[in-house]
Amino acid sequence: MISFIEMVLGTVLSSFVVVILSTFLALLVDFLFPSFSKWTRMMLIFIVIAVVLQPAFTQLTLIRDIANQISLSFVSIYPILTAAMIAAGGAFGMLNFQPAMLLFANGAIVLTESLLIPLLTAALIFDLVSRILPAVPFTKMADLIRTALLGTVSAVVAAYSIFITVGGTMSWALSGLASEPIKELIRQNVPLIGSFMTDSMGTLGRYSSGAGVFAGGWMITTIWTVALVPSLKTLLTAFFYRWTAALIEPFADKDITGIIDDIGKTLFVLCAISFLIAFAFIYTALFSIILIKLITTMK
């Protein structure tokens, strides 16, 4: 875990240093060759896109690949899982597993893969374009896309929680009384998606509690970790981007800080989207585990 944080910190911190250094270099070149200043600005943007935004782009392609794989595996595995569920009969009834929920959870991934992530990429490109060519700004468009995406994802998560609480499984972890302060802390300190995060965590927690009886606590912890690592990594990267933008604002070019800040915002939305993926992963994994357990104990 520590090395993972160090890795993220290292990439983003080094890019932060690169931004400062290249700003300084651009200042120097501007002083020596004033007639070159337009080009210098362009090349600074070049450096920022090619070097500093690399982690963000890697993150975006990573999440996109994960969504792609999960939606592919879902399409192949869904008929088998549903058939097995029907074969198992009423055993699933008490666990509040419904085939519709499985379809819904993974349908969200298909939606993510085919619509949400391309839209997010579009927002990213709109941001870049409006910074590179200030004469053709698309900032409102990018903001609109981001808000719409966040709204869609929140709606899907709300639908998840409705699905899950209909069966009345017991609460666990983050929804307890003791965790209220932590929830409040996350809600106020994570920009844009703080309250969304606590809500989806609560949904996940409520869901896993029902399954915990069957799968065992450690198994659930493992699945949670595996599923949430990409989301956490995205969240950390987003934080470092915004932090970098805030730190270099006094002495860097306005465009540069703007680009970094916008990318941070987009990454927060990406993190929200990746929660959908994490949820579908957790649901499918737990479902498969319980199915296997049922089949092996029935014999």
């Binding site: 007639s35 090349m43 450096i47 782009f57 490109i125």
Partner: protein, 125 residues
């Protein structure tokens, strides 16, 4: 400071030439101009550039070199183009400047290709 003195001396020599042999002035001016230019380049500009590039070694590799190199190239080309223009060949000056701009773009071609690749990897599957 010595360099400034040298420039003053060059200026004086040019003035003397203008008075002594007005007909040869353009030719001698060009000769002296390029002589001084190359001397200054080798004595001041290149060592200074090397120092600056060494200073910004921490930046990812080709960028500091490319930025400073192309800025200097642009500046020298501008200088020469202006000189040609003063001699009365404005279109030749524009052409030479244009060619150098293309050369600078050629230097950045590799980086541009990388950038386009990054951006297009976002939109293709």
């Amino acid at each position: 400071m010595v360099l400034l003195l040298q420039m003053v001396v060059v200026f004086l020599i040019l003035l003397i030439i203008t008075f002594a042999v007005p007909k040869l002035q353009p030719l001698l001016y060009v000769a002296i101009f390029f002589f001084v230019l190359f001397q200054l380049l080798s004595m001041v500009v290149f060592p200074f550039t090397r120092t600056i590039i060494g200073l910004f070694e921490a930046l990812p590799d080709p960028f500091a070199k490319l930025l400073i190199g192309s800025a200097i190239l642009f500046f020298i080309s501008e200088l020469i183009a202006k000189h040609i223009e003063e001699a009365g060949f404005a279109s030749l000056a524009a052409m030479s400047h244009f060619i150098v701009k293309i050369a600078i773009l050629g230097l950045w071609l590799h980086q541009t290709a990388a950038l386009i690749e990054i951006l297009s990897s976002l939109i293709t599957k």
